[in-house]
Amino acid sequence: MTLQHILYFTVFTIVISRLSHGLFRHYLLLTGSLFAVFWLQPASSIRNLDFWLPVVSIGMVVIIWILTQPKNPDRKHKLRLEILIISGVVTFIGATRYFGNLCCLTATRPPPIIQIIIVLTILGCFGLLLQHFSQIQKSLLWLAGILIIVIFILLKYDIYALHLSQFLRNWMGQDPSLATTSDLPWLGYSYLAFRLLHTIRDAQGKKLPDYSLGEFTTYALFFPALTAGPIDRSERFIRDYRSPSQETNRNTWIGLQRVLVGLLKKFVLADSLALFALNSQNANQVGAPIWMWIVLYTYSLRLYLDFSGYTDIALGLGAIVGINLPENFNAPYFRTNLTAFWNSWHITLANWFRAYLFNPLTRFLRGGNFKLPVWPIVLVGQITTMTLIGLWHGITWNFFIWGLWHALGLFVHNRWTEWRRRRIINIEIHPWKQKYISFFSWLITFHYVTLGWVWFALPGTDISGRVFSTLFGLGS
């Protein structure tokens, strides 16, 4: 999101909170979120991709809603209107192709309107067909989940992304030899995928509440949380969405304060620190350990300010319209152990992986007839969860190692805590001694996390290895 996006979104949310209630508010939020998917989508060198990627995002949301919500004759009228709004927004944005210089909603000129109408008709027929196959809904849900993950892998793994780009360039009649891995900048796909996967899993467990297509679309594509999360849960979001806080003045004031804090963190502090923060250029240039530590500390701070600043903006915009999105950060760099760090850093992502991977896996290994000791179960659970969290950021060796780094740290902390608990019982620690212990615990945790960013921030293991050598004075 740029400053311009944030300014327009702030005005839009204030207008919604002041002027609209009930159904009108619902349709405005839906329309706003649909427009935002196109408006925020960056340009691509593949023709019309900046129009088709948002269309696919919307199409996926509609399909998952059809597969996860039972037919409800009571909402037939509302459904028709919501379908009309969704297809109307897509068609309108496509029609801006003919507006000449007035066109401002997509990064490049949209495709001809006839193509859009054909795609919408095909999507409509596909949706109707899916509704008639409710008896194989279970298999279709699995298929949809696998497809979401496959797309994720295609986008996040450079070699596949390059092949996909070549394929799309061929299809569009463009030169495939010019394909690059950055041709597919699908806005917010990582977050959308996790929202849709959670919906699929909860539908399989029959835990989803009843909600309309419009409500679900607004949840999945809610404009404040589209680019950088947080990853909310549908039942929590829709609860807030249906009964927003009525204290409009207070919401606006709190929301605006949060947006301002976010702007300061992201655009003033983080962007200034970016000039000195670790990156692949200065990693090769800095030779003195002290300067390498400075660029690394700066990166650590910048990353937090940048990401938590975006979260503040998202939460602030949500608060203005009475929707309290979940917190994503809770002073993570002040934590005195790695477990506490992961309870306060990118909280919604960590909770997602705990709920859908770590907990079921641990429950399976603990509750089954395996009779395994505790330590291998903890190790397997942490390695699986943390390496996948790493790979969620991109399928590279560096993200894998970053995940492994944290998995091993969490494992060691778990075993250390267990060991201490067994041996140190009822020993009173003097308060000043406790302060020293807390300080050193914080120092170790902060440095473990910060050194982990060396893997996260850089593109290859060789350059990360070089940074480690310089940091510890081992460079040639």
Partner: protein, 88 residues
């Protein structure tokens, strides 16, 4: 209100005993009903799963994987209320 309920007291003491003995390994320690367990760092993700399995076996109440977080319950009191609601 429900703190005075004998059933609630039984659930609270059973949960407290399990957590102090099996998770914290400090059987002499006492836990207040409103003491934060998850956000306070007393129970980690791994022990939460063990706690869910213990509740399932002892009280016949299933706690979902998606509910093992501080938002759903963070204190003995909140956990006891969930168990009682699902038992009734």
């Amino acid at each position: 209100m429900s703190i005075l309920n004998p059933m609630n007291n039984h659930i609270l003491s059973t949960l407290s005993e399990y957590i102090t003995t099996e998770i914290l390994k400090q059987p002499n320690r006492s836990l207040a009903p409103d003491q934060p367990l998850i956000s306070g760092g007393l129970i980690d993700s791994f022990s939460l799963v063990d706690l869910a399995l213990f509740i399932e076996n002892t009280f016949g109440v299933h706690i979902e994987d998606t509910e093992l977080n501080a938002e759903t319950f963070d204190t003995l009191h909140e956990l006891s209320e969930i168990i009682q609601t699902r038992q009734s």
